[in-house]
């Protein structure tokens, strides 16, 4: 009895808040996908009365529009490709670093890890802005790249406002999300396995590929999910670092909601994005569970 009361007292304030400002808004967004856009943007009334009879005014048009025009599918595919590329580059960059931190002397580990997280605590926009400077047309980096490139006989290239800049920005912002779970995994490995393999004649590559890599897969999947999911729904980085050819699904959603104010279609796109995120999250959870069972 008392237990019940305690549970109720602790739970209801956060529960009420999140129902009000997370669950209900999400539900409204889902319903909005089936409504008509309003005459001046926003949403048209959901129902009207005709001769005293209530008539629901809902539609599937917003969904069919998505299927009919291939441009939207292409944009989803492109966003998934950008997010996947970002994840892969993060993995390649984070793996050696995480391994090294996990194998360094215990007293340095926290510091080395803190050094990875520290930039992550500076403002998100600032971190993107920094790359506007580095990749800008007058920057030392761009000039160096173009010096080498024209020396090899190529035309001078632009770096800022290209897909390249978007990927660089996304890798930069998401790298810590890959390092942390990888480190947490690599740190727990039993090193005697590696020396046993070495005694049995396995070379460095075999020791990595047959022991370290398979054991690290849960960390790899966790890190990949943590990078891929926010990267898929990214809108600020393509907005700032990208050009017209490097927009992602997030930019289209932002445009539909805030600029064009076609909310029903914006809601449809958001639902598709949510579905994509959920699919990835569930896949990750499934793989993780399998990994635990095997382990």
């Amino acid at each position: 009895m008392k237990n019940r009361l305690g549970k109720w007292l602790l739970s209801w304030p956060p529960l009420l808040y999140l129902v009000l400002f997370f669950l209900i808004p999400t539900a409204i967004m889902f319903v909005a996908a089936f409504r008509f856009p309003g005459d001046y943007g926003g949403l048209a009334p959901m129902y009207y009365y005709e001769e005293g009879k209530l008539i629901w005014d809902l539609t599937l048009e917003n969904f069919t529009r998505l299927v009919e025009e291939p441009i939207y599918f292409e944009l989803f595919a492109k966003s998934a490709w950008y997010a996947a590329l970002t994840t892969l580059i993060c993995l390649v960059m984070a793996y050696p670093l995480s391994w090294l931190i996990a194998r360094s002397a215990k007293k340095y580990r926290d510091l080395l890890l803190l050094l990875v997280i520290l930039p992550f605590w500076s403002n998100f926009l600032i971190r993107i802005y920094a790359w506007m400077i580095i990749l800008g047309p007058q920057s030392a980096f761009t000039r160096a790249v173009n010096w080498v490139w024209t020396g090899m006989g190529g035309e001078p290239v632009q770096l800022l406002f290209t897909p390249f800049a978007v990927i660089v920005g996304m890798v930069y912002v998401h790298l810590p999300f890959m390092v942390l779970p990888l480190y947490a995994n690599l740190e727990k490995h039993d090193l005697s396995l590696l020396s046993a393999a070495q005694d049995l004649g396995a070379n460095a590559w075999q020791r990595f590929w047959r022991i370290t890599w398979p054991l690290s897969l849960p960390g790899v999947f966790a890190g990949s999910a943590l990078v891929f999911i926010p990267a898929l729904g990214m809108f600020a980085i393509p907005d700032i670092l990208g050009g017209t050819d490097s927009i992602m699904i997030g930019n289209l959603i932002k445009q539909q909601i805030l600029d064009t104010r076609d909310w029903p279609f914006g809601a449809v796109l958001s639902i598709m994005l949510t579905a994509g995120v959920l699919a990835i999250a569930m896949l990750g959870a499934l793989i993780a569970r399998k990994g635990v069972k095997r382990g």
Binding site: P13, P14, L18, F21, P25, L114, L115, I133, I253, I257
Partner: protein, 265 residues
Amino acid sequence: MAKAKQSAWLKVSAWVTYLFLYLPLVIVVVFSFNDSKLNAEWVGFTTRWYSQLFANEKMLTAAGNSLLIALAASFLSTVLGTLAGMALHKYKVPFLSFLVLTPIAIPELLTGVSLVIFFVLVNQILGILELGLFTILLSHVAFCIGFVAIVVKARMQGMDESLVEAARDLGATPFQAFRLVTLPVIRPGIIAGALMAFTLSIDDFVITFFTAGAGASTLPLEIYSMIKIAVTPEVNAVSSLLMLLTLVLIVIASRVSPGALRAND
């Protein structure tokens, strides 16, 4: 021999990655003192971008708004998040854990979209919650609760439950047991959660961008419009100051509760 070679290669790649992480931020700070409108070459030392910044009314108002919202959001989300964290630790509340964790897991953009639709509809129907500073605050609390709850829950898992039982056996009321036993033990978690909520709120761009409406401005929104219009060293100056603020907060966090920083990963 082969081993030494391998670890040398690893070390180089690790240093390159650290360089990749820090060089951009160093460049921002260095150019904030550069006496040139272009962020291209070092010309000479100046502090004029900082004095220009402190004369920029819009920027100062935005900074004030950000600070106000961050303080209020961290206070509210710390209270709600601590309750949620304790509830999640003590009892099985799957629905609450779903509500607490989902806003953290989904892209911020989706939260922003659903909240702006919600606020505008509520405003149309009830005439309250017009987009502005207050809707920004409500949105920030919604996504900060989860982070606080996770940190507090992690802290409670390390707590010896028999302490509370002992206090109850010795005649403490449930509230006394909480105030005198539980609270001191989980205090570092609460402080860490509050600082985290503060940083998340003052840094937030995406959700704020959606829920701000036309009039209200925060520091990230102001920085965004400056970046979009023209890249000037004034942005470098405000960025450097924000980095300094974050650094100070981290130092405070590590002083107040040495375990706080580790609770974040």
